[in-house]
């Protein structure tokens, strides 16, 4: 295979308010013709900086290029003239950015934005350009392209905008596309569509793709080769199967182990301890050493070189040195443990549900005659001590449901009972306070969920103050709570902005625990966190649930994590629960077309599986069109497995069952 692009010894630093951040530290890799190279890493690992360096797009004022070459077609991209780099950008190498909402100019029609690079790099003019634009829009799957090219970005949905961005990148038939987290801002089903689009275009045009992402599932689906970045370095690089099945670096192993595997039942997820190092002061030796349970003495003294594992596979860890002790890789250790254990299903008191929702509706008025039916008649119970998962894509009403239960919104109609008591009966101040103690919430955004003006101690103590607990009891209680969530008591005197995302999320949990609640509503508590931190928080939540007999409503869009943590799962679609079952049952036998599409859209961190999988497409328009919504009802098709079906759909389902066709 031909080498298209060579990166040699690239080091990039940034000047910041606090000093020099060494974002990328001496990395080298090649890109071959027609391949997809994925660069994986957590936030701050330097993957985005690397991708931007490839087109010299990092902000000039703050970026310091320390060393290195990027060779493309006889040019060194880092040192060539402004004119040469401009001739490469868009024409030879183009880029797709993360957020399609901000990547398009809001005041220019999309047709003009695509035409810009055609005009710049080709000899096409006038009508020819328009034709090319329409052709490109059709290529990326935008219907009525001949009309829509005159529209502005805000007239398109997020997924459509990302298609437009892709059309823009393809405009001059480049040889390389750099995709910087192109699907992170999108829902899973849209993500699956965009990924497939990229793959089909790659085959048609023989493109090379550099795919930047933090999601190992997406990597498994897309990549031919994978480079894993940690603390500004490539710590392991190899073919996708080598990385997923034979990885050598303890960080890569840890990352893979931290992803819940839907096919294996485990009690705790593997979690890499600690947080990534601060690149203002990169550690001496192996940057991962302080988080590595098998760290060697030399890890703290000297940086490991890249050891060759195979022709295509390299890893930077001293464990590969001939003198190093041989260690069983983490994921294999875990697999052995899992074989031994088999979890007995938990038993709950189904007669007296702790939380019970009956036909709850939450409508918001959007001005005259317009109503947003955020939650449109949902009914479900949560038993005491259970973890109930609520999944769905953005805008399906899952978060609104959580907020309605805790009383942040007054419900439009229906009934919510907590511990047998209707929450609308809580009229007096005392009743309301008692209710607030029973039900607590953990929020999504670790950056906006803590008041920046308050010390951690005051944040945790807020509940104690509100519920009139004497001041002299606060201090031991705060220390105890910090200890419970895995932080030391030194944190009490800190301010939120001094902490990392994971640490803040722990404080949020401590705040909720302070009033000793019975039910916790966790609203996407991990979706803003990095993979290795997600596992830590999920383990903490599970541990607390066990120790304290808590009941959880776990709201999330990530089905694999929900499957892992929940006893039962409800799938929400357009304000309604369309399917509800035990999590294993739901995962094994999904019935509703939406659930099945959703399940098939989740990329799994298993490249072999990904290659074989077929995605089930859920076509919203045809689903809505052929349906008699009046006759739909929540039917129990198997014990504990409910599906929202119309009479017609239920008949079809029964016929299929009798005919022995497994759904």
């Amino acid at each position: 295979m031909k080498k298209l692009l060579q990166v040699k010894n690239l080091s990039v630093s940034f000047n910041t308010y606090n000093g020099e951040v060494q974002a990328v530290r001496n990395i080298s890799f090649d890109l071959f013709e027609g391949e997809t190279l994925a660069i994986v890493g957590e936030s701050g690992s330097g993957k985005s900086v690397t991708s931007k360096s490839l087109l010299r797009l990092n902000p000039t004022e703050t970026t310091m290029l320390k060393s290195g070459h990027i060779l493309y077609n006889g040019h060194d991209i880092l040192t060539c003239s402004e004119q040469e780099i401009r001739a490469i950008r868009g024409a030879e190498i183009s880029m797709i950015f993360q957020d399609p909402m901000t990547a398009l100019n809001p005041t220019m029609t999309i047709g003009k934005q695509i035409a810009e690079s055609i005009k710049k790099h080709t000899t096409l003019r006038g009508q020819q350009i328009t034709n090319r634009v329409i052709e490109l829009l059709q290529l990326v799957g935008i219907k009525e392209a001949d009309k829509r090219y005159k529209q502005y970005p805000h007239q398109f949905s997020g997924g459509m905008r990302q298609r437009i961005v892709i059309a823009m990148a393809l405009a001059c038939e480049p040889r390389i596309i750099i995709a910087d987290e192109p699907t992170t801002a999108l829902d899973v089903s849209i993500q699956a569509q965009i990924l497939e689009l990229l793959k089909s275009i790659q085959q048609k045009m023989n493109l090379s793709i550099i795919f930047i992402t933090h999601d190992l599932g997406v990597v498994a689906k897309m990549a031919d080769r994978v480079a894993v970045m940690y603390a500004g370095k490539i710590i392991e690089i190899g073919l996708v199967d080598e990385i997923f099945y034979h990885c050598q670096h303890p960080y890569t192993q840890g990352l893979l182990a931290a992803m819940p595997n839907p096919d294996i039942d485990t009690d705790t997820l593997y979690a890499i301890p600690g947080t990534p190092p601060n690149l203002l002061h990169p550690p001496i030796g192996d940057a991962f050493a302080s988080r590595n349970q098998h760290a060697l003495k030399i890890d703290f003294k000297e940086e490991p070189p890249l050891f060759q594992v195979s022709d295509t596979h390299f890893a930077a860890t001293w464990l590969l040195h001939e003198l190093a002790p041989k260690i069983v890789p983490i994921h294999q250790q875990l697999a052995q443990v899992q074989q031994e254990k088999h979890k007995a299903p938990a038993v709950f008191d189904k007669e007296h549900p702790y939380l019970s929702l009956k036909e709850v509706k939450q409508h918001f008025s959007l001005g005259k005659n317009a109503v947003n039916k955020a939650v449109d008649g949902i009914t479900f119970d949560i038993y005491k001590g259970e973890i109930f998962g609520l999944v769905g894509e953005s805008g399906c009403g899952k978060s609104t449901t959580g907020r309605s239960i805790i009383g942040l919104n007054a419900i439009t109609s229906g009934e919510i009972r907590v511990d047998g008591r209707n929450i609308n009966d809580n009229q007096t101040k005392k009743d309301k306070l008692a209710f607030n103690r029973k039900v607590q919430m953990i929020f999504q955004d670790p950056y906006s969920s803590l008041n920046p003006r308050m010390k951690i101690a005051d944040i945790i103590a807020e509940g104690l103050a509100i519920h009139g607990i004497p001041k002299n009891e606060w201090k031991p209680k705060i220390y105890e709570l910090l200890n419970i969530v895995g932080l030391t008591k030194e944190y009490a005197n800190r301010y939120p902005h001094e902490l990392s995302g994971g640490q803040r999320q722990r404080i949020g949990i401590a705040r909720a625990l302070a009033v000793e609640p019975e039910l916790i509503i966790a609203d996407e508590p991990i979706s803003a966190l990095d993979v290795s931190i997600q596992a830590q928080i999920v383990n903490l939540l599970k541990k607390l649930q066990k120790e304290r007999g808590l009941t959880y409503l776990f709201i999330a869009h990530d089905l694999s994590m929900v499957k892992y943590i929940s006893d039962r799962i409800g799938v929400m679609y357009r304000g309604k629960i369309v399917e509800l079952a035990d999590s294993q049952e739901l995962y094994d036998h999904p019935v509703h077309p939406y659930t099945r599409a959703l399940l098939s859209a989740i990329p799994l961190p298993d490249p072999k599986l990904e290659r074989e999988r077929n995605r089930i497409i859920f076509n919203e328009a045809t689903y809505q069109a052929n349906r008699n919504n009046e006759s739909e009802s929540f039917i129990e098709i198997r014990p504990g497995h409910f599906v929202m079906l119309t009479e017609e759909e239920f008949d079809q389902y029964q016929l299929a069952q009798e005919g022995g066709i497994l759904l």
Binding site: F97, K120, Y152, H154, M168
Partner: protein, 309 residues
């Protein structure tokens, strides 16, 4: 969009009504005002009584005043031998309009250039220089600047006439004096908007397309930065009106501002009231135009229509 415009016009009328009511009541209450001046000659008093029905209840009087106003009758000035206020405003507005127009045009062009250059050369000497100039322009009171301009350029150096209004060269110094504030305001705002726009991801997208910097800055940068700049036309109008009061006085320009200041000094209430209402109408109209303009130039509002309301 149409509904939105009607709504805005509704607010505009309420605002104007309040201003007119306020000024009317003030005039009624003031001793020495045209309605109750003891020194007023009997003939004129009769005239007034006849015209406004001063023997009738106050609401009726206000009704009559409003009716006259709608017909463009703002009453007569007593200081200027009973000349109609409308007439005086008509005579005076010319010089003010020319001065205001020149200052705003020159000021906006220089301000935009300065702001854009400062943003493009962010954190360099040029940026700091432009920022300091803008702070000085906003901070130094217009009358101080006008005073010294007149003293140094006019009197000491003798380059340009320092007073009156007899041709273009007479308008140069007052235009500069009035434009300084405009330059500073626009430059400051443009710089901030430009920096904001330049940090947007679509600028990076444009760069990744291989477009040249000047092209990106004009096509993507300036165009998007200009949209919010429309909103400062409002405060700018106020500044220009305010500035014209003192600058016309300093340079003895026979404009509306100078007239207004004189009418305050001579207690010519009818004229004060008339001019006040005129300024209010001008200001409210400008605000209305800005609102509509904003909707027109921003496709996010124009195409979906009425979302802002």
């Amino acid at each position: 969009m149409v509904r939105y415009i009607f709504k805005r016009i509704g607010y505009m009328i309420i605002t104007l009504f309040i201003i007119i009511l306020l000024s009317f009541l003030l005039m009624k209450a003031l001793p020495g005002s045209p309605f109750n001046d003891e020194r007023l000659p009997e003939t004129q008093k009769e005239l007034l009584y006849k015209k406004y029905g001063l023997d009738k209840p106050v609401p009726v009087q206000f009704g009559i005043y409003l009716t006259n106003l709608v017909q463009g009758d703002l009453g007569v000035s007593f200081v200027f031998d009973n000349r109609p206020v409308t007439k005086i405003i008509q005579e005076r507005i010319g010089a003010s309009a020319i001065l205001g127009f020149q200052a705003v045009t020159v000021g906006t062009i220089i301000g935009l250039l300065l702001g854009i250059i400062a943003a493009l050369r962010h954190n360099t000497i040029i940026d700091y220089g432009a920022t300091i100039l803008a702070v000085l322009g906003i901070s130094i009171p217009s009358f101080v600047f006008a005073g010294f301009l007149q003293y140094w350029v006019g009197v000491k150096l003798g380059w340009l006439p320092i007073a009156f209004w007899n041709g273009f060269e007479y308008s140069i110094l007052p235009t500069i004096a009035l434009a300084v504030g405009v330059v500073a305001t626009i430059a400051r705002f443009t710089r901030i908007e430009m920096l904001e726009v330049l940090s947007q991801e679509y600028i990076l997208t444009a760069k990744a397309k291989g477009l040249s910097n000047p092209f990106i800055i004009t096509k993507h940068g300036i165009r998007n930065a200009m949209i919010p700049i429309v909103t400062i036309i409002g405060p700018l109008t106020v500044n220009t009106i305010t500035g014209s009061l003192v600058i016309e006085k300093i340079f003895s320009i026979p404009g509306l501002g100078e007239q207004f200041v004189n009418s305050i000094i001579t207690n010519d209430y009818q004229l004060i009231m008339g001019t006040t209402i005129f300024y209010a109408v001008l200001f409210v109209t400008v605000i209305l135009i800005i609102d509509i303009l904003y909707g027109l130039i921003d496709p996010r509002i124009r195409v979906t229509g009425g979302d802002k309301a």
